[in-house]
Protein backbone atom coordinates (compact mmCIF):
# COMPACT_ATOMS: atom_id res chain seq x y z
CA UNK A 1 0.00 0.00 0.00
CA UNK A 2 1.26 3.47 -0.81
CA UNK A 3 1.33 6.22 1.79
CA UNK A 4 -0.67 8.44 -0.55
CA UNK A 5 -3.93 10.08 0.33
CA UNK A 6 -6.46 9.67 -2.44
CA UNK A 7 -8.54 12.54 -3.74
CA UNK A 8 -11.80 11.31 -5.20
CA UNK A 9 -15.30 12.45 -6.01
CA UNK A 10 -18.07 11.50 -3.64
CA UNK A 11 -19.01 8.02 -4.74
CA UNK A 12 -20.03 5.32 -2.28
CA UNK A 13 -18.87 2.44 -4.47
CA UNK A 14 -15.47 4.08 -4.98
CA UNK A 15 -15.09 4.76 -1.27
CA UNK A 16 -15.82 1.08 -0.68
CA UNK A 17 -13.21 -0.02 -3.24
CA UNK A 18 -10.52 2.17 -1.64
CA UNK A 19 -10.87 1.00 1.95
CA UNK A 20 -7.10 0.82 2.46
CA UNK A 21 -6.52 4.51 1.85
CA UNK A 22 -7.16 7.75 3.57
CA UNK A 23 -9.25 9.98 1.39
CA UNK A 24 -10.04 13.53 0.46
CA UNK A 25 -13.61 13.59 -0.81
CA UNK A 26 -14.66 16.15 -3.40
CA UNK A 27 -18.24 17.02 -2.55
CA UNK A 28 -20.25 18.74 -5.24
CA UNK A 29 -23.13 19.71 -2.96
CA UNK A 30 -23.84 20.48 0.65
CA UNK A 31 -25.62 17.16 1.23
CA UNK A 32 -22.51 15.14 0.34
CA UNK A 33 -20.44 16.68 3.10
CA UNK A 34 -22.17 14.92 5.96
CA UNK A 35 -22.51 11.69 3.96
CA UNK A 36 -18.78 11.56 3.21
CA UNK A 37 -18.07 12.11 6.83
CA UNK A 38 -20.44 9.31 7.87
CA UNK A 39 -18.85 6.87 5.40
CA UNK A 40 -15.22 7.52 6.20
CA UNK A 41 -14.93 8.99 9.65
CA UNK A 42 -15.63 5.80 11.59
CA UNK A 43 -12.72 4.01 9.89
CA UNK A 44 -10.56 7.04 10.49
CA UNK A 45 -10.09 7.31 6.72
CA UNK A 46 -11.35 10.81 6.19
CA UNK A 47 -8.51 13.24 5.62
CA UNK A 48 -10.69 16.08 4.38
CA UNK A 49 -13.84 16.98 2.51
CA UNK A 50 -13.57 19.60 -0.22
CA UNK A 51 -16.85 21.31 -0.99
CA UNK A 52 -17.12 23.11 -4.29
CA UNK A 53 -20.67 24.09 -5.14
CA UNK A 54 -20.31 26.89 -7.66
CA UNK A 55 -22.11 29.17 -5.22
CA UNK A 56 -20.59 32.27 -3.67
CA UNK A 57 -19.01 31.55 -0.29
CA UNK A 58 -21.63 33.57 1.54
CA UNK A 59 -24.48 31.71 -0.18
CA UNK A 60 -23.51 28.22 0.89
CA UNK A 61 -26.01 26.66 3.27
CA UNK A 62 -24.14 25.39 6.26
CA UNK A 63 -25.55 22.52 8.29
CA UNK A 64 -25.09 21.73 11.95
CA UNK A 65 -23.37 18.33 11.57
CA UNK A 66 -20.45 19.96 9.76
CA UNK A 67 -19.04 21.15 13.03
CA UNK A 68 -16.34 18.49 13.39
CA UNK A 69 -15.56 17.73 9.77
CA UNK A 70 -12.14 18.63 8.30
CA UNK A 71 -13.81 20.73 5.66
CA UNK A 72 -12.34 22.80 2.84
CA UNK A 73 -14.76 25.11 1.12
CA UNK A 74 -13.80 26.34 -2.33
CA UNK A 75 -15.64 29.16 -4.03
CA UNK A 76 -15.03 31.29 -7.08
CA UNK A 77 -16.31 34.40 -5.35
CA UNK A 78 -17.04 35.68 -1.90
CA UNK A 79 -20.57 37.03 -2.25
CA UNK A 80 -22.16 39.34 0.29
CA UNK A 81 -20.53 40.17 3.60
CA UNK A 82 -23.94 40.78 5.14
CA UNK A 83 -25.04 37.25 4.22
CA UNK A 84 -21.86 35.74 5.58
CA UNK A 85 -22.04 37.82 8.74
CA UNK A 86 -25.10 36.01 10.03
CA UNK A 87 -23.21 32.72 9.75
CA UNK A 88 -19.93 33.80 11.33
CA UNK A 89 -20.54 32.34 14.78
CA UNK A 90 -21.44 28.97 13.31
CA UNK A 91 -18.51 29.05 10.90
CA UNK A 92 -16.14 29.71 13.78
CA UNK A 93 -17.37 26.56 15.49
CA UNK A 94 -16.96 24.54 12.28
CA UNK A 95 -13.26 25.20 11.94
CA UNK A 96 -13.52 24.93 8.14
CA UNK A 97 -10.96 26.42 5.77
CA UNK A 98 -12.11 28.72 3.03
CA UNK A 99 -10.44 29.00 -0.35
CA UNK A 100 -11.26 31.56 -3.00
CA UNK A 101 -10.16 31.58 -6.60
CA UNK A 102 -7.09 33.67 -7.38
CA UNK A 103 -8.54 34.65 -10.74
CA UNK A 104 -10.55 37.53 -9.29
CA UNK A 105 -8.57 40.43 -7.87
CA UNK A 106 -11.11 41.22 -5.16
CA UNK A 107 -10.87 37.69 -3.74
CA UNK A 108 -7.45 38.37 -2.24
CA UNK A 109 -8.95 41.12 -0.12
CA UNK A 110 -11.82 38.84 0.96
CA UNK A 111 -9.31 36.20 2.00
CA UNK A 112 -7.52 38.83 4.06
CA UNK A 113 -10.83 39.82 5.61
CA UNK A 114 -11.64 36.21 6.48
CA UNK A 115 -8.19 35.70 7.98
CA UNK A 116 -8.54 38.89 10.00
CA UNK A 117 -11.68 37.39 11.55
CA UNK A 118 -9.66 34.36 12.60
CA UNK A 119 -10.61 31.95 9.82
CA UNK A 120 -8.02 29.70 8.24
CA UNK A 121 -8.27 30.34 4.55
CA UNK A 122 -6.41 30.64 1.30
CA UNK A 123 -6.34 31.75 -2.25
CA UNK A 124 -6.00 29.36 -5.16
CA UNK A 125 -3.05 30.69 -7.12
CA UNK A 126 -3.75 29.28 -10.55
CA UNK A 127 -2.75 30.35 -14.01
CA UNK A 128 -4.45 33.74 -13.81
CA UNK A 129 -3.14 35.16 -10.55
CA UNK A 130 -3.32 38.85 -9.71
CA UNK A 131 0.20 39.45 -8.56
CA UNK A 132 -0.21 42.82 -6.94
CA UNK A 133 -3.19 41.66 -4.89
CA UNK A 134 -1.36 38.42 -4.11
CA UNK A 135 1.62 40.44 -2.94
CA UNK A 136 -0.60 42.48 -0.60
CA UNK A 137 -2.01 39.26 0.81
CA UNK A 138 1.41 37.73 1.38
CA UNK A 139 2.51 40.85 3.21
CA UNK A 140 -0.56 40.63 5.36
CA UNK A 141 0.04 36.95 6.03
CA UNK A 142 3.66 37.36 7.01
CA UNK A 143 3.87 40.79 8.55
CA UNK A 144 0.51 41.89 9.98
CA UNK A 145 0.92 42.74 13.66
CA UNK A 146 -2.68 41.68 14.37
CA UNK A 147 -3.73 38.13 15.12
CA UNK A 148 -5.18 36.35 12.13
CA UNK A 149 -6.02 32.95 10.73
CA UNK A 150 -3.64 30.99 8.54
CA UNK A 151 -3.45 32.18 4.95
CA UNK A 152 -2.57 29.56 2.37
CA UNK A 153 -0.36 28.92 0.55
CA UNK A 154 1.86 31.27 2.57
CA UNK A 155 1.36 29.48 5.86
CA UNK A 156 2.25 26.13 4.28
CA UNK A 157 5.34 27.51 2.59
CA UNK A 158 6.64 29.19 5.71
CA UNK A 159 6.05 26.07 7.76
CA UNK A 160 7.55 23.58 5.33
CA UNK A 161 10.18 25.31 3.25
CA UNK A 162 13.75 24.20 3.74
CA UNK A 163 16.70 26.18 2.40
CA UNK A 164 18.28 23.06 0.88
CA UNK A 165 15.28 21.81 -1.07
CA UNK A 166 12.25 22.90 -3.07
CA UNK A 167 8.62 22.92 -2.02
CA UNK A 168 5.39 22.18 -3.82
CA UNK A 169 2.81 24.39 -2.21
CA UNK A 170 0.10 22.87 -4.40
CA UNK A 171 -0.25 20.46 -1.48
CA UNK A 172 -2.65 23.01 0.00
CA UNK A 173 -4.87 22.36 -3.01
CA UNK A 174 -4.31 18.57 -2.66
CA UNK A 175 -2.30 18.69 -5.89
CA UNK A 176 1.11 17.50 -4.69
CA UNK A 177 1.58 13.99 -6.12
CA UNK A 178 4.18 13.08 -3.53
CA UNK A 179 1.33 13.10 -1.01
CA UNK A 180 -1.96 13.16 -2.92
CA UNK A 181 -3.15 11.19 -5.90
CA UNK A 182 -6.36 11.86 -7.77
CA UNK A 183 -8.61 9.02 -8.75
CA UNK A 184 -11.94 8.76 -10.55
CA UNK A 185 -14.80 6.24 -10.70
CA UNK A 186 -12.91 4.26 -13.41
CA UNK A 187 -9.97 3.95 -11.00
CA UNK A 188 -7.84 6.10 -13.30
CA UNK A 189 -5.07 7.76 -11.34
CA UNK A 190 -3.53 11.18 -11.96
CA UNK A 191 -1.07 13.54 -10.29
CA UNK A 192 -3.47 16.45 -10.02
CA UNK A 193 -7.12 17.33 -10.45
CA UNK A 194 -6.33 19.12 -13.70
CA UNK A 195 -4.46 16.11 -15.10
CA UNK A 196 -7.33 13.83 -14.11
CA UNK A 197 -9.74 16.09 -15.96
CA UNK A 198 -7.41 16.26 -18.96
CA UNK A 199 -7.05 12.49 -19.12
CA UNK A 200 -3.36 12.48 -18.24
CA UNK A 201 -3.20 9.32 -16.17
CA UNK A 202 -0.31 7.74 -14.31
CA UNK A 203 -1.91 4.37 -13.73
CA UNK A 204 -5.21 2.51 -13.54
CA UNK A 205 -6.73 0.09 -11.04
CA UNK A 206 -6.16 -0.92 -7.45
CA UNK A 207 -3.11 -3.05 -8.13
CA UNK A 208 -1.31 -0.27 -9.99
CA UNK A 209 -2.28 2.10 -7.25
CA UNK A 210 -0.65 -0.13 -4.66
CA UNK A 211 2.64 -0.08 -6.57
CA UNK A 212 2.52 3.52 -7.74
CA UNK A 213 5.77 4.41 -5.97
CA UNK A 214 7.70 2.19 -8.35
CA UNK A 215 5.74 3.37 -11.38
CA UNK A 216 7.97 5.01 -13.99
CA UNK A 217 5.36 7.56 -15.07
CA UNK A 218 4.82 8.55 -11.49
CA UNK A 219 8.52 9.00 -10.84
CA UNK A 220 8.86 11.11 -13.98
CA UNK A 221 5.93 13.23 -12.92
CA UNK A 222 7.39 13.75 -9.45
CA UNK A 223 10.56 15.07 -11.00
CA UNK A 224 8.84 17.08 -13.71
CA UNK A 225 10.45 20.24 -12.37
CA UNK A 226 13.79 19.03 -13.74
CA UNK A 227 12.39 19.71 -17.19
CA UNK A 228 12.71 23.43 -16.45
CA UNK A 229 16.48 23.00 -16.60
CA UNK A 230 16.64 20.44 -19.38
CA UNK A 231 14.74 22.67 -21.76
CA UNK A 232 16.45 25.79 -20.43
CA UNK A 233 13.18 27.39 -19.44
CA UNK A 234 13.13 31.02 -18.34
CA UNK A 235 12.07 29.71 -14.94
CA UNK A 236 15.34 27.79 -14.58
CA UNK A 237 17.18 31.08 -14.23
CA UNK A 238 14.77 32.44 -11.67
CA UNK A 239 15.88 32.61 -8.06
CA UNK A 240 12.46 31.70 -6.78
CA UNK A 241 11.87 28.48 -8.76
CA UNK A 242 12.23 26.39 -5.59
CA UNK A 243 8.99 27.89 -4.35
CA UNK A 244 6.96 28.03 -7.54
CA UNK A 245 8.48 25.01 -9.36
CA UNK A 246 7.66 26.68 -12.64
CA UNK A 247 3.92 26.72 -12.06
CA UNK A 248 3.56 29.82 -14.20
CA UNK A 249 5.90 28.76 -16.98
CA UNK A 250 4.64 29.60 -20.43
CA UNK A 251 2.11 31.98 -19.08
CA UNK A 252 4.88 34.49 -18.61
CA UNK A 253 5.79 34.44 -22.27
CA UNK A 254 2.23 35.11 -23.38
CA UNK A 255 1.30 38.05 -21.22
CA UNK A 256 4.59 39.31 -20.00
CA UNK A 257 3.78 38.67 -16.35
CA UNK A 258 6.98 36.83 -15.61
CA UNK A 259 8.59 39.64 -13.74
CA UNK A 260 5.51 39.98 -11.60
CA UNK A 261 5.45 36.33 -10.60
CA UNK A 262 9.20 36.38 -10.00
CA UNK A 263 8.92 39.43 -7.77
CA UNK A 264 6.04 37.85 -5.91
CA UNK A 265 7.88 34.60 -5.18
CA UNK A 266 11.02 36.46 -4.22
CA UNK A 267 8.98 38.32 -1.65
CA UNK A 268 7.86 34.99 -0.25
CA UNK A 269 11.45 33.79 -0.06
CA UNK A 270 12.47 36.98 1.67
CA UNK A 271 9.64 36.66 4.16
CA UNK A 272 10.30 33.04 5.08
CA UNK A 273 13.97 33.76 5.62
CA UNK A 274 12.82 36.01 8.42
CA UNK A 275 11.10 34.59 11.44
CA UNK A 276 7.42 34.31 10.55
CA UNK A 277 4.84 35.73 12.91
CA UNK A 278 2.87 33.13 14.85
CA UNK A 279 -0.67 32.78 13.59
CA UNK A 280 -3.81 31.40 15.13
CA UNK A 281 -5.21 28.08 14.03
CA UNK A 282 -5.50 24.46 14.88
CA UNK A 283 -2.01 23.04 14.52
CA UNK A 284 -3.04 19.37 14.58
CA UNK A 285 -4.30 19.26 10.97
CA UNK A 286 -1.58 19.00 8.35
CA UNK A 287 -1.67 18.93 4.59
Amino acid sequence: MTPHILVAPYNEKLMGQLRQWKMVILASGESQVGSANNHLRQDNRLHAVVLRTGKALSAIEYEEPWENIPLFIYADEFGSFRDLSSKVDFLRKMGARFFLSGEKAENYQWVQMLASMGFNCGVHLGKKAHWEAASDLLHYSFYSPAKHGQVEPFNYISGNFSVDSSINYAAVYFDDPSRYLHINENLEIAASSQELNDGIFLAKGIEELKTISSNKAYETRLNAWRGLFLRNSECSGCESWRVCLGKHEGLSDKNGSKMECQAFYLQILEAIMQKPLPVEGKPEWRF
Binding site: R82, S85, V88, Q109, M113, S116, Y140, P145, A146
Partner: protein, 330 residues
Protein backbone atom coordinates in the same frame (compact mmCIF):
# COMPACT_ATOMS: atom_id res chain seq x y z
CA UNK B 1 -9.65 55.49 20.41
CA UNK B 2 -9.75 56.69 16.81
CA UNK B 3 -12.44 58.12 14.56
CA UNK B 4 -12.68 56.60 11.11
CA UNK B 5 -14.35 58.75 8.48
CA UNK B 6 -16.29 56.55 6.12
CA UNK B 7 -17.39 59.34 3.81
CA UNK B 8 -16.70 62.98 3.09
CA UNK B 9 -20.29 63.86 2.27
CA UNK B 10 -23.15 64.82 4.51
CA UNK B 11 -26.90 64.91 4.05
CA UNK B 12 -27.31 68.08 6.11
CA UNK B 13 -25.69 71.50 6.08
CA UNK B 14 -25.57 72.62 9.69
CA UNK B 15 -24.39 76.23 10.18
CA UNK B 16 -21.85 75.21 12.83
CA UNK B 17 -20.52 72.18 10.93
CA UNK B 18 -17.03 71.39 12.15
CA UNK B 19 -16.37 68.96 9.30
CA UNK B 20 -17.38 71.34 6.52
CA UNK B 21 -13.91 72.64 5.68
CA UNK B 22 -12.49 69.18 5.69
CA UNK B 23 -15.28 67.88 3.46
CA UNK B 24 -14.86 70.75 1.04
CA UNK B 25 -11.14 70.20 0.74
CA UNK B 26 -11.50 66.45 0.29
CA UNK B 27 -12.45 64.58 -2.80
CA UNK B 28 -16.25 64.51 -2.73
CA UNK B 29 -16.63 60.87 -3.60
CA UNK B 30 -13.87 59.67 -1.32
CA UNK B 31 -15.06 56.75 0.76
CA UNK B 32 -13.26 54.38 3.09
CA UNK B 33 -12.29 51.26 1.12
CA UNK B 34 -12.41 47.70 2.44
CA UNK B 35 -8.63 47.52 2.05
CA UNK B 36 -8.14 50.56 4.26
CA UNK B 37 -10.75 49.38 6.74
CA UNK B 38 -8.95 46.04 7.10
CA UNK B 39 -5.68 47.87 7.67
CA UNK B 40 -7.19 50.16 10.29
CA UNK B 41 -8.91 47.33 12.13
CA UNK B 42 -5.57 45.53 12.37
CA UNK B 43 -3.83 48.69 13.50
CA UNK B 44 -6.44 49.29 16.19
CA UNK B 45 -6.19 45.70 17.37
CA UNK B 46 -2.41 45.84 17.45
CA UNK B 47 -2.73 49.09 19.41
CA UNK B 48 -4.90 47.25 21.98
CA UNK B 49 -7.82 49.52 21.19
CA UNK B 50 -11.24 47.96 21.71
CA UNK B 51 -13.36 50.88 20.65
CA UNK B 52 -13.77 52.53 17.28
CA UNK B 53 -15.95 55.43 16.15
CA UNK B 54 -17.32 55.78 12.63
CA UNK B 55 -17.87 59.30 11.33
CA UNK B 56 -18.38 61.21 8.12
CA UNK B 57 -19.68 63.30 6.53
CA UNK B 58 -22.58 61.07 7.18
CA UNK B 59 -21.19 57.55 7.72
CA UNK B 60 -24.44 55.74 7.02
CA UNK B 61 -24.41 56.78 3.36
CA UNK B 62 -21.30 54.69 2.75
CA UNK B 63 -22.35 51.75 0.54
CA UNK B 64 -20.70 49.31 2.96
CA UNK B 65 -21.73 51.04 6.17
CA UNK B 66 -23.64 48.05 7.56
CA UNK B 67 -20.92 45.65 6.44
CA UNK B 68 -18.23 47.71 8.17
CA UNK B 69 -20.18 47.84 11.42
CA UNK B 70 -20.78 44.08 11.31
CA UNK B 71 -17.14 43.43 10.45
CA UNK B 72 -15.83 45.57 13.31
CA UNK B 73 -18.24 43.87 15.70
CA UNK B 74 -16.96 40.48 14.53
CA UNK B 75 -13.48 41.79 15.27
CA UNK B 76 -14.67 42.38 18.85
CA UNK B 77 -14.62 46.15 18.72
CA UNK B 78 -17.21 48.29 20.41
CA UNK B 79 -18.53 50.52 17.63
CA UNK B 80 -19.89 54.03 17.98
CA UNK B 81 -21.49 55.65 14.95
CA UNK B 82 -21.83 59.43 14.83
CA UNK B 83 -24.82 60.16 12.65
CA UNK B 84 -27.40 62.80 11.83
CA UNK B 85 -30.08 60.13 11.93
CA UNK B 86 -31.25 61.35 8.52
CA UNK B 87 -31.45 57.92 6.95
CA UNK B 88 -33.41 56.75 3.94
CA UNK B 89 -36.28 54.33 4.65
CA UNK B 90 -34.60 51.59 2.63
CA UNK B 91 -31.31 51.85 4.50
CA UNK B 92 -33.10 52.08 7.82
CA UNK B 93 -34.92 48.84 7.06
CA UNK B 94 -31.59 47.18 6.21
CA UNK B 95 -30.05 48.53 9.39
CA UNK B 96 -32.95 47.17 11.44
CA UNK B 97 -32.56 43.79 9.78
CA UNK B 98 -28.83 43.50 10.42
CA UNK B 99 -28.02 45.68 13.42
CA UNK B 100 -31.01 45.77 15.72
CA UNK B 101 -30.15 42.40 17.28
CA UNK B 102 -26.64 43.48 18.23
CA UNK B 103 -26.19 43.93 21.96
CA UNK B 104 -26.61 47.61 22.74
CA UNK B 105 -23.44 47.54 24.85
CA UNK B 106 -21.44 46.79 21.71
CA UNK B 107 -22.99 49.24 19.29
CA UNK B 108 -23.88 52.86 19.96
CA UNK B 109 -25.17 55.68 17.85
CA UNK B 110 -24.51 59.26 18.82
CA UNK B 111 -27.27 61.10 17.01
CA UNK B 112 -26.38 64.72 16.44
CA UNK B 113 -29.72 66.47 16.85
CA UNK B 114 -30.53 69.94 15.65
CA UNK B 115 -33.39 71.91 17.12
CA UNK B 116 -36.63 71.07 15.27
CA UNK B 117 -37.08 74.74 14.43
CA UNK B 118 -34.05 74.73 12.15
CA UNK B 119 -34.62 71.24 10.74
CA UNK B 120 -36.49 70.71 7.46
CA UNK B 121 -39.59 68.57 7.88
CA UNK B 122 -38.29 65.70 5.77
CA UNK B 123 -35.05 65.51 7.77
CA UNK B 124 -36.93 65.66 11.04
CA UNK B 125 -39.25 62.91 9.91
CA UNK B 126 -36.40 60.63 8.98
CA UNK B 127 -34.54 61.36 12.20
CA UNK B 128 -37.60 60.51 14.26
CA UNK B 129 -37.96 57.19 12.44
CA UNK B 130 -34.34 56.43 13.23
CA UNK B 131 -34.87 57.36 16.89
CA UNK B 132 -37.86 55.03 17.01
CA UNK B 133 -36.02 52.13 15.40
CA UNK B 134 -32.77 52.30 17.36
CA UNK B 135 -33.70 54.04 20.61
CA UNK B 136 -31.77 51.76 23.04
CA UNK B 137 -28.61 52.31 20.98
CA UNK B 138 -28.87 56.08 20.75
CA UNK B 139 -27.19 58.77 22.79
CA UNK B 140 -28.50 62.18 21.76
CA UNK B 141 -25.87 64.74 20.88
CA UNK B 142 -26.22 68.48 20.66
CA UNK B 143 -23.78 71.06 19.38
CA UNK B 144 -23.82 74.45 21.08
CA UNK B 145 -23.00 77.27 18.69
CA UNK B 146 -24.95 80.13 20.21
CA UNK B 147 -25.56 81.14 23.82
CA UNK B 148 -29.35 81.05 23.65
CA UNK B 149 -29.66 77.37 22.84
CA UNK B 150 -32.53 75.14 23.86
CA UNK B 151 -32.26 71.55 25.09
CA UNK B 152 -35.94 71.01 25.91
CA UNK B 153 -36.57 69.03 22.75
CA UNK B 154 -33.71 66.66 23.64
CA UNK B 155 -35.31 65.84 26.99
CA UNK B 156 -38.63 65.35 25.20
CA UNK B 157 -37.00 62.94 22.75
CA UNK B 158 -35.34 61.00 25.57
CA UNK B 159 -38.71 60.43 27.18
CA UNK B 160 -40.71 60.00 24.00
CA UNK B 161 -38.40 57.50 22.30
CA UNK B 162 -36.63 55.97 25.29
CA UNK B 163 -33.16 57.10 24.26
CA UNK B 164 -30.12 56.58 26.45
CA UNK B 165 -30.12 58.99 29.38
CA UNK B 166 -26.99 60.82 28.46
CA UNK B 167 -26.52 63.93 26.32
CA UNK B 168 -23.28 64.51 24.50
CA UNK B 169 -22.74 68.25 24.46
CA UNK B 170 -20.38 69.60 21.87
CA UNK B 171 -19.02 73.09 21.94
CA UNK B 172 -18.60 74.33 18.40
CA UNK B 173 -15.14 75.70 17.78
CA UNK B 174 -13.80 77.92 15.02
CA UNK B 175 -12.50 75.69 12.27
CA UNK B 176 -8.92 76.65 11.51
CA UNK B 177 -7.65 78.48 9.62
CA UNK B 178 -10.65 80.31 8.15
CA UNK B 179 -13.18 80.00 11.00
CA UNK B 180 -16.08 80.36 8.58
CA UNK B 181 -18.47 78.17 10.52
CA UNK B 182 -20.87 79.43 13.17
CA UNK B 183 -19.21 78.91 16.53
CA UNK B 184 -19.53 80.09 20.07
CA UNK B 185 -17.50 83.24 20.56
CA UNK B 186 -15.31 83.63 23.62
CA UNK B 187 -17.38 86.54 24.87
CA UNK B 188 -20.43 84.26 24.96
CA UNK B 189 -18.83 81.39 26.87
CA UNK B 190 -20.08 82.34 30.32
CA UNK B 191 -23.51 83.22 28.95
CA UNK B 192 -23.60 79.75 27.41
CA UNK B 193 -22.62 78.21 30.76
CA UNK B 194 -25.42 80.03 32.54
CA UNK B 195 -27.87 78.90 29.89
CA UNK B 196 -26.74 75.31 30.30
CA UNK B 197 -27.36 75.52 34.03
CA UNK B 198 -30.97 76.43 33.34
CA UNK B 199 -31.38 72.81 32.22
CA UNK B 200 -29.73 71.30 35.28
CA UNK B 201 -33.08 70.48 36.87
CA UNK B 202 -34.09 68.58 33.76
CA UNK B 203 -30.84 66.61 33.80
CA UNK B 204 -31.36 65.70 37.45
CA UNK B 205 -35.08 65.04 37.20
CA UNK B 206 -34.74 62.77 34.17
CA UNK B 207 -31.60 61.15 35.59
CA UNK B 208 -29.83 62.14 32.42
CA UNK B 209 -26.11 62.81 32.48
CA UNK B 210 -24.55 65.68 30.57
CA UNK B 211 -21.30 64.76 28.84
CA UNK B 212 -18.91 67.44 27.71
CA UNK B 213 -17.12 66.91 24.46
CA UNK B 214 -13.69 68.50 24.23
CA UNK B 215 -12.82 72.13 24.80
CA UNK B 216 -15.10 73.25 27.63
CA UNK B 217 -13.01 75.49 29.93
CA UNK B 218 -13.69 75.01 33.65
CA UNK B 219 -13.64 78.71 34.54
CA UNK B 220 -16.81 79.54 32.63
CA UNK B 221 -18.70 77.80 35.42
CA UNK B 222 -18.91 78.97 39.02
CA UNK B 223 -17.97 76.52 41.77
CA UNK B 224 -21.63 76.14 42.60
CA UNK B 225 -22.48 75.33 38.98
CA UNK B 226 -19.68 72.78 38.84
CA UNK B 227 -21.12 71.15 41.95
CA UNK B 228 -24.50 70.82 40.28
CA UNK B 229 -22.95 69.49 37.06
CA UNK B 230 -20.85 67.06 39.08
CA UNK B 231 -23.99 65.66 40.64
CA UNK B 232 -25.92 65.58 37.35
CA UNK B 233 -22.97 64.00 35.56
CA UNK B 234 -22.54 61.38 38.29
CA UNK B 235 -19.05 62.57 39.02
CA UNK B 236 -17.84 62.66 35.45
CA UNK B 237 -16.88 66.02 34.06
CA UNK B 238 -14.23 66.78 31.50
CA UNK B 239 -12.59 70.07 30.63
CA UNK B 240 -9.95 68.67 28.33
CA UNK B 241 -8.71 69.39 24.84
CA UNK B 242 -6.68 66.68 23.19
CA UNK B 243 -6.32 64.85 19.90
CA UNK B 244 -9.44 62.92 18.95
CA UNK B 245 -7.54 61.33 16.03
CA UNK B 246 -9.59 61.51 12.88
CA UNK B 247 -8.66 59.24 9.99
CA UNK B 248 -9.92 60.08 6.51
CA UNK B 249 -10.86 57.71 3.69
CA UNK B 250 -7.51 58.48 2.03
CA UNK B 251 -5.73 57.44 5.27
CA UNK B 252 -4.66 60.93 6.20
CA UNK B 253 -4.87 61.63 9.90
CA UNK B 254 -5.30 64.83 11.85
CA UNK B 255 -5.96 65.61 15.50
CA UNK B 256 -9.61 66.75 15.26
CA UNK B 257 -11.94 68.61 12.91
CA UNK B 258 -11.21 72.12 14.20
CA UNK B 259 -7.54 71.37 13.56
CA UNK B 260 -8.00 69.50 10.29
CA UNK B 261 -5.33 71.61 8.59
CA UNK B 262 -3.01 71.27 11.54
CA UNK B 263 -0.12 69.03 10.47
CA UNK B 264 -1.97 66.37 8.52
CA UNK B 265 -0.07 63.10 8.34
CA UNK B 266 -0.54 59.68 6.83
CA UNK B 267 -1.67 56.77 8.98
CA UNK B 268 1.17 54.81 7.40
CA UNK B 269 3.66 57.08 9.17
CA UNK B 270 2.71 55.41 12.45
CA UNK B 271 2.62 51.88 13.79
CA UNK B 272 -0.01 52.27 16.46
CA UNK B 273 -2.85 54.58 17.41
CA UNK B 274 -0.90 55.35 20.57
CA UNK B 275 1.92 56.75 18.43
CA UNK B 276 -0.52 59.01 16.59
CA UNK B 277 -2.02 60.21 19.86
CA UNK B 278 1.40 60.94 21.33
CA UNK B 279 2.54 62.76 18.21
CA UNK B 280 -0.43 65.12 18.25
CA UNK B 281 -0.49 65.52 22.04
CA UNK B 282 3.14 66.62 21.96
CA UNK B 283 2.51 68.89 19.01
CA UNK B 284 -0.52 70.46 20.63
CA UNK B 285 1.37 71.02 23.89
CA UNK B 286 4.24 72.58 21.96
CA UNK B 287 1.83 74.84 20.10
CA UNK B 288 0.28 76.05 23.33
CA UNK B 289 3.69 76.76 24.87
CA UNK B 290 4.93 80.29 24.42
CA UNK B 291 2.52 83.18 24.50
CA UNK B 292 -1.04 82.66 25.54
CA UNK B 293 -1.63 78.96 26.15
CA UNK B 294 -5.38 79.05 26.64
CA UNK B 295 -8.45 80.71 25.27
CA UNK B 296 -8.46 83.43 27.94
CA UNK B 297 -5.66 85.76 28.91
CA UNK B 298 -5.76 84.51 32.48
CA UNK B 299 -5.24 80.88 31.41
CA UNK B 300 -1.44 81.07 31.75
CA UNK B 301 -1.65 81.82 35.45
CA UNK B 302 -4.54 79.48 36.18
CA UNK B 303 -4.02 76.89 38.89
CA UNK B 304 -6.07 74.37 36.88
CA UNK B 305 -4.00 74.65 33.71
CA UNK B 306 -3.06 71.16 32.49
CA UNK B 307 -4.53 69.71 35.65
CA UNK B 308 -8.28 69.89 35.63
CA UNK B 309 -8.51 72.00 32.49
CA UNK B 310 -6.72 72.19 29.14
CA UNK B 311 -7.55 75.91 28.82
CA UNK B 312 -10.12 75.43 26.10
CA UNK B 313 -9.94 74.39 22.48
CA UNK B 314 -6.62 74.85 20.75
CA UNK B 315 -8.44 76.25 17.73
CA UNK B 316 -9.20 79.45 19.69
CA UNK B 317 -5.56 79.66 20.77
CA UNK B 318 -4.39 79.36 17.18
CA UNK B 319 -6.92 81.94 16.07
CA UNK B 320 -5.65 84.30 18.73
CA UNK B 321 -2.02 83.71 17.74
CA UNK B 322 -2.87 84.30 14.10
CA UNK B 323 -4.62 87.55 15.01
CA UNK B 324 -1.62 88.65 17.07
CA UNK B 325 0.89 87.90 14.35
CA UNK B 326 -1.36 89.69 11.87
CA UNK B 327 -1.46 92.74 14.12
CA UNK B 328 2.34 92.65 14.55
CA UNK B 329 2.93 92.47 10.81
CA UNK B 330 0.64 95.43 10.32
Amino acid sequence: MANILLTQKCVRSCPYCFAKDNMESAEANAVMSWQNMLYLADMLEASKENHVSLLGGEPTIHPHFIDYVLYLLHRSFHVTVFTSGVISPRLLAEMEKHLSKVHSERLSFVCNLNHPDISPADELNKTKKFLTAFAPFITPGFNIYRPDFDLTFIFDYIQQYGLRRHVRLGLTHPIQPAAENAYLHLADMRKMASRLMEFSDSFLKLQTTPGFDCGFPVCIFTDEQIGVLYKAGKGRLSFRCGPAIDIGPDMTVWPCFPLHEFEKKSVFDFSTVGEIGKYYSDLMAKTRAGGRSGIFEECNDCEHLQGLCSAGCLAYVLMNKAALSGAQSV
